[in-house]
């Protein structure tokens, strides 16, 4: 059990994109701000800061969550994945390729969050229906493209992943 007095900082150690990090955070520091300001990973965007827009979505122990609705101290000991962990060795992730291919983004502000939710879906190993993709996307606001390209991109990525697994 840990008790902390007001404004006293707490040690937060977690794994971010496979890298172990340790930093200090005030209890009230949101995970989204911690990721951006303390870990310097600004790919996680902050939109509404009250859980509506979905742009700050990250994977917390594999599950897509809004990082503005968690405190950094709550993520102590967890495994966090952000958009920075998607591309490997300079090569885009299949989701990123698909979003490029299918015009799944325009200004790009909402895209990191959408990619992280899509990654959870992709990791589940089940090929989602269009309706399931739409329901997942209901947790994200995109104000530029409309969602048609985004849905197509996710369908493509899930299809490709399935093909690849089939080949093995």
């Amino acid at each position: 059990m840990s008790n902390l007095s007001i404004e006293q900082k707490m040690n937060v150690s977690l794994s971010i994109n496979g890298r172990e990090v340790e930093a200090e955070a005030e209890p009230r520091k949101l995970l989204s701000d911690f990721i951006r300001e303390d870990l310097g990973l600004t790919g996680t965007h902050v939109g509404c800061e009250h859980g509506v827009c979905g742009s700050c979505t990250v994977l917390y122990n594999g599950a897509a969550v809004r990082s503005c609705l968690m405190f950094a101290v709550q993520a102590n000991g967890s495994d966090i994945q952000t958009i920075e962990g998607l591309a490997k060795n300079g090569e885009q992730h299949v989701l990123q390729q698909s979003f490029t291919e299918c015009h799944g983004l325009q200004c790009g502000f909402c895209t990191p969050g959408i990619l992280m939710s899509s990654l959870e879906m992709l990791n589940s190993g089940e090929e989602p229906t269009k309706q399931e993709i739409k329901e997942m996307l209901s947790g994200h606001l995109c104000r530029c493209t409309g969602y048609t390209g985004i849905i197509a991109a996710i369908e493509r990525a899930c299809g490709i992943k399935k093909c690849k697994e089939g080949d093995n």
Binding site: I6, P27, R28, D33, E49, G51, L69, Q74
Partner: protein, 291 residues
């Protein structure tokens, strides 16, 4: 949009948590999933002195069946409820209702107990548990008490859980072969419901209504148990006529607020539409028909 400062405690047992609650009284607040509470903190509508994070209390997790009662730990994630086979088999109304709670990204973190204790009158789980005639288990430093959900909700965001208490479990009595239905309407998927209805219904051997529980959401300060409609329907056949009468009785006490999303009249209208749909669906399911 940043919370005010607070002291953070992360107890690992219920005993530690209730001790902290006793210590901090009104100035301490429990945080579970935080999917409603952290927005409130971020907007500084609440500035508690101490946050008691119960996420490390493993004994509050999980779903189990014991002696004909389904016991849901307060910390069980809404997403887990949605995907649980035990829930699908024993209490399918919960599997039907959970996809309406926010979005998958909030259900991954939001908890069952949190939703019930938060007591938003348009929230899905309070409606379902009231329809299911559940019991709420509450613990404090003085011990454990059980309270019927019929007496649980007081008004907006206010329940029988006292400042020094913690909601630990929800108990749902299991019964076989019952009809059920959950219906909701909101402007966009995942938004707060403009109106919602939960219904549990069973029939006797000649197809007349045996028992029925009907709950309306979003039309009053608390989930509204439509007692007059329930009494009226008991022992009756389900016909167009009895349904219409039940629908009128169900919304008799509905007194929804008006806001920019919908007028009072529209909410009552939607409550009627959804009540009708829910009754028919629950009745057909009770008869074993596909819906």
């Amino acid at each position: 949009m940043k919370p005010a400062t607070f002291t953070y405690c992360s107890p690992s047992t219920i005993e530690e948590a209730v001790k902290l609650l006793e210590e901090y009284g009104d100035t301490g607040k429990i945080i579970a999933g935080g999917q409603s509470f952290i927005p409130i903190l971020n907007m500084r509508m609440s500035e508690p002195e101490c946050l008691i994070d119960i996420n490390q209390i493993n004994e509050l997790n999980g779903v189990r069946v014991e002696e004909g009662v389904l016991k849901i730990g307060a910390l069980t994630k809404q997403r887990e409820l949605e995907q649980s086979d035990a829930i699908k088999i024993h209490v399918p109304i919960l599997s039907e209702a959970t996809p309406y709670i926010g979005h998958v990204q909030t259900r991954n973190r939001g908890t069952v107990g949190g939703s019930v204790a938060h007591a938003d009158p348009s929230a899905e789980l309070p409606l379902c548990f009231l329809a299911l005639d559940a019991e709420i288990v509450i613990q404090s430093i003085d011990g454990t008490r059980k309270i019927s959900i019929n007496d649980f909700f007081i008004t907006y965001l206010t329940t029988e859980v006292m400042p020094e208490e913690i909601l630990t479990e929800i108990h749902v009595p299991l019964s076989e072969h019952t009809g059920y239905a959950f219906e909701e309407f909101s402007r966009r998927h995942g938004d707060f419901a403009l109106a919602a209805v939960a219904c549990i219904l069973s029939v006797d051997e000649i197809g007349k209504v045996d028992k029925v529980r009907l709950v309306l959401g979003g039309v009053d300060a608390i989930p509204l148990l439509a007692e007059e409609a329930m009494e009226y329907l008991a022992g009756k056949s389900i016909t167009e006529e009895t349904i219409e009468r039940a629908v009128e009785l169900a919304v008799k006490d509905a007194d929804p607020d008006e806001d920019l999303h919908a007028s009072k009249e529209y909410r009552v209208h939607m409550a009627k539409v959804l009540t009708r749909k829910a009754l028919i669906k629950a009745y057909n399911r009770a008869l074993g028909k596909e819906v």
